[in-house]
Amino acid sequence: MSRAEKRTLIRELTRACVVARARLAEADAALRRGGTGEGGGGADASTLLEALRSLLGDNDDVVFRTFRLRRGPKATLVYIDGLAKKEDVEERIIQPLVRAAPVPARDGVSLRRLAEEAVTAAEVKLVPSLDEVVREVLGGATALVVDGQPGAVVIASPGWKGREVEKPSVEFSLRGPREGFSETLIWNIALVRRRLRDPGLRVRKMRIGARSQTEVALLYLEGVANPDVVAEAERRLKAIRIDGILDAGYVEQLIEDCWWSPFPTVNGSERPDVVVAGLLEGRVAILVDTSSFALIVPSTFDGLFHSPEDSYDRWLPVNLLRFLRFLASGVALFTPALYVATASFNPGLMPLKLALKVAASREGVAFPVLFEALFAQFALELLKEAGFRMPSPVSQIFGVVGGLVLGDLGVRAGVFSEIMMIVIALTAIASFSIPTIPLGTVVRLLGLPLMISTAVLGMFGLVMGLLAILAHLATLRSFGVPYLVPYAYFSAQDLKDTVIKQPLPAFRRRPTFLRPRDAVMQDPDRQTGRETSR
C-alpha cells in the first residue's frame, strides 16, 4: 500500500469514527430525552436499535432477534452468542413475552410492566443510556428493546464458560480448605461470602479499563477495616486509566506504592480462606474478573513468610516451619555471596578442613569465583524457566536430567566447582521453600547484586549490601502502613504472629498497625463458654 493510499485510508477511518461517535451521542441524547418512563416516543427505540446495530451489528456473534409481543408491538432482543445463555434467552425471556397476556390498549405497553410481569429471569433492570446498554450486552446480558418505548430492559443471562472451583495451583497446603479462586468474579465473591457470613462484608464493584471494562470488586469488613485504608484503595483503583485489565497483576502494578521496588507491596492469593483471614484482620481485598488471584492490602514484609496452613496447624510445628522459612530466605539470599566472600577474600571464616576442600575443588575451575557463581546462577534460572515453559510430564524429567548433565559436565569442564554446585542447589531449594513465590524470586534476584558487591569489597560489600536492602525495606510502605511492621516500634501485641507464632488463644486483638475499627478479634469469655452458660 502506497503512502497516499494509507493516508486516504486513515482519513476515511477517522471520518467513520467521527460519524459513529456523533451518532452515538445523538442516540444517547435522544434516549435521555425520552427517559425510561412509560409511553415515550417510538423514534427513541428505533434510534437505540439503530445505534446498537451501528456499534455492534458488524459482528457475526451479536444476535438481533426480532419478534412480536402478543397482540402488541415488535420487540428486539440483543445479545452475544456465547456470552449469553441461549436456553435462558429462549425460556426466560422470549417465551414469557410471546405468551404474556395482551396489554389493554388504554394502558399501552410499558417496559417496566414487561420487566415486572412477563420476564422471569432473576436479574432485570431498566437502562436509559446507550452506553450502559452496550456495556451490559458486552458483559453477557440480553437487552430488550420494544418499539415505541425509550430505553431498554437489560436481563442478566450469563452463559459463558468458566473454570470451575478447583484446588489452588500455586498455594498448596497440607491442611485447610482446598478451594481456590477461579476466573469468574461472582463465584469468587461467593467463595468469600460463604466463609464470612457477616452483614458487614461490603462489596464495592467498579469497572476498570476503558476498553476491557473489567469488573473489579473491593471487599472489606465494615466496622473492622480502617476507613482510611478503604478510601485509599478505592481512590487508587478509580485513578487507574488504562485500556484493559487482563489480570489482577495489572491492578497490582498500578496501585502499588513503589513501582521500582523488587519487594511486592501488595499481597496476592488464590485462596479464599487467605482473603477472609485478611479481611478479618482489617485488610482490604481486591478481586478482579478474569483473574484467579485476589489482592490483599496493606501488605507487610513479615506477611510474605506466612503460609495458609500456619493458621490451621498447632502452633509448635508451625513455629518450627516458619523459622525454617525465615532461615531459608537468608540462605537463598546470602549463600552465593557468602561463598564468593569466603572463597575470594576471607577463607579463614570457614573451618580449616572446609577451606582446604573449597581450595581443592576450585583448583581446576577456569573462572574467578564471581563469574563461576554468576554462571551457576544463570544456569539455575535457565533450567527453572525452561521447566516452567515445558509440558509438565516433560518438565520434571528435563529438570532432573538437565540439572544433572549441566552440573556434572560443568564441573568436569572446569566451569563450576563441586562446592559451587552445592551452593547453587542450596540456594534453589531454599528459595523455593519460601511460601510466597514473588518473594522467592526477589530473594534470588537480590542475590546477584549482593554477589557483585561482595566480589568487589568482600565481607564489607556483603554487609553494606545487606544494609542497603534493609534501608530500602525501611523506606517502603503499603497503603500507608510501613512495610517493616511489626518489627519496628509497634506494640508487643503485634509481635505475636512474626518469626514466632503464638498459640491461637493468644490472638485476642487485631494487628494494631492496621488501625482496625474493632480491635477485638477473640472474646475470651465466649471462648471459655462462660457467656453461654450465663
Binding site: D228, V229, A231, E232, F345, N346, G348, L349, M350, P351, L352, V456, L457, G458, M459, F460, G461, L462, V463, M464, L467, A468, L470, A471, H472, A474, T475, R477, F479, G480, V481, P482, L484, Y487, A488, Y489, R515
Partner: protein, 375 residues
C-alpha cells in the same frame, strides 16, 4: 496516605542513642587515656547529664526543631548563628566518622582497596536512607540495633571472662586532676548524646523523653562499657592505647573454647560496620536537618541530602593519612563540649528564666501523627 510519616515515638531514642554512641569504642578508649575505667565512668555520667539536659530542653519546646528552639531562645539573628554552628559541627563530625569507618574497613578487611571505595559505598547507602527522612532511619535502627548490640555484647562478655579484672584497678599517675581531664575528653567523644536536639521536632509524646533518654544511655553504657572494660581488662590501660582498633584486636585475640570457627571476629566486624554506618547516618541526618531548617524555603530533604553528599565526600577524603584523621578528631573536641554540653545547658537555663515555653505548630510532634495524643 502515609501513616506515621516523619514521626518517631519518643521510645525510639532508647535504640537510637546506643546507635549514636556504641561505635567506635576506640575514641572512648583513647580519650580515657591512662585513667581507664576511672575516666570512662565519670565521662559517661557527664554525657548522660548532657543527654538529659538536651531532652529537658526539647521537652520544654515540644514540636520545635533545633533551629526553631535556638531562634526562640536567642532571637532570630543569634539563634540562626548558633544553628549554623550546629550544622557545621554535625557536618564535620559526619565527615570525620565517614573517613574513620572507611579507614577501619581498609585496615582490617581490604588492605589493597583505595579508601574512596568504602567511603563512597557508605555515603551512597546512607544518603538513600537519610533522604527518606527520620522515620525510615528509626525503623532501620529498630531492626539493626537489637541484633547488633546482642552480638557485640556476646563478644565483650566472652572477652571479659577471659581477661584479668585486676588490670582495671590501675590508677593514673596524675591523680584526680588527670581523671577529670580525661573524663572531659570521654564526654567530648560522645557527641551523639545531643541527638534529642536533632530529633526534637519529630518526636511524639515528649513527656517520656527523659525516661527514654535514660533508657538509651543505659543500653549505650552496656555496649560501650563492655568494650572499654574488655579492652582495659585484657591489656591494661597503657597497652590498650597502642592499638588502632583495640576492641577488634581484643575480639580477635580472645580464645573461644568449644567453637569450631576460628575467625568469628569477621562476624563482629560485620556488626561493627553496621553500627558505624548507623552512627554516620545519624550524624548525616543531623547535619541535613539543621541545614534544611536554616534554609528559607525549607527544600525537600532529598535535595539537601544530595547537595551535602559531595561536600561530605570531599571533606572525608581530605585527611591524607590516619594521623591527620586523629588530629582532626582532636580539633573536634572543643566544639563538641560547646555544642553538646554547654549550649543545651545554657538553653535550658534560659528557657527556665523565660517561663513556660510554647509548643510547635499544629500537627508537629505532640502525638498527633500517632493519633493517640498521649503524652
Amino acid at each position: 496516605m502515609n501513616w506515621f510519616n516523619d514521626r518517631l515515638p519518643t521510645t525510639a531514642l532508647v535504640l537510637l542513642l546506643p546507635l549514636a554512641l556504641v561505635e567506635p569504642p576506640v575514641l572512648v578508649v583513647a580519650a580515657a587515656g591512662r585513667g581507664g575505667v576511672f575516666s570512662f565512668a565519670p565521662g559517661f555520667a557527664l554525657a548522660t547529664l548532657g543527654a538529659v539536659a538536651a531532652a529537658l530542653l526539647v521537652r520544654r519546646h515540644p514540636g520545635l526543631t533545633a533551629v526553631e528552639i535556638s531562634r526562640a531562645l536567642l532571637g532570630r539573628g543569634a539563634g540562626t548563628a548558633v544553628a549554623a554552628g550546629y550544622a557545621l559541627f554535625w557536618f564535620l563530625e559526619a565527615a570525620w566518622l565517614l573517613r574513620h569507618e572507611a579507614s577501619k574497613v581498609i585496615d582490617l578487611l581490604l588492605p589493597r582497596t583505595p579508601v574512596w571505595a568504602p567511603v563512597l559505598y557508605l555515603l551512597a547507602v546512607a544518603a538513600y536512607l537519610v533522604a527518606r527522612g527520620v522515620e525510615p532511619l528509626g525503623r532501620w535502627a529498630f531492626v539493626v540495633v537489637p541484633f547488633a548490640l546482642t552480638v557485640v555484647l556476646a563478644f565483650y562478655v566472652a572477652g571479659i571472662t577471659q581477661a584479668e579484672p585486676a588490670r582495671l584497678a590501675d590508677l593514673p599517675p596524675g591523680g584526680p586532676g588527670e581523671v577529670a581531664r580525661e573524663a572531659w575528653r570521654v564526654a567530648g567523644a560522645l557527641e551523639g548524646v545531643a541527638l534529642p536536639l536533632v530529633l526534637a521536632g519529630y518526636l511524639v509524646r515528649p513527656g517520656r523523653l527523659v525516661a527514654a533518654t535514660l533508657g538509651g544511655m543505659a543500653l549505650a553504657f552496656l555496649g560501650l562499657g563492655g568494650a572499654v572494660v574488655m579492652v582495659f581488662s585484657l591489656w591494661g590501660v597503657r597497652a590498650a592505647q597502642l592499638y588502632h582498633w583495640p576492641a577488634v584486636v581484643a575480639v580477635q585475640n580472645v580464645p573461644r573454647p568449644g567453637l569450631a570457627f576460628e575467625k568469628l571476629e569477621l562476624i563482629y566486624l560485620g556488626v561493627v560496620v553496621m553500627l558505624g554506618f548507623g552512627r554516620f547516618a545519624l550524624l548525616y541526618l543531623a547535619a541535613v536537618l539543621t541545614i534544611r531548617g536554616l534554609l528559607p524555603a525549607s527544600p525537600p530533604l532529598g535535595r539537601v541530602v544530595l547537595g551535602l553528599a559531595p561536600a561530605l565526600l570531599v571533606a572525608s577524603l581530605l585527611p591524607p593519612h590516619f594521623d591527620a584523621l586523629e588530629r582532626m578528631r582532636a580539633w573536634l573536641y572543643p566544639p563538641a563540649w560547646v555544642f553538646v554540653y554547654a549550649l543545651p545547658a545554657l538553653g535550658l537555663g534560659l528557657s527556665h528564666l523565660r517561663g513556660p515555653a510554647g509548643a510547635g505548630p499544629a500537627g508537629q510532634g505532640a502525638g498527633t501523627a500517632w493519633g493517640d495524643g498521649r503524652r
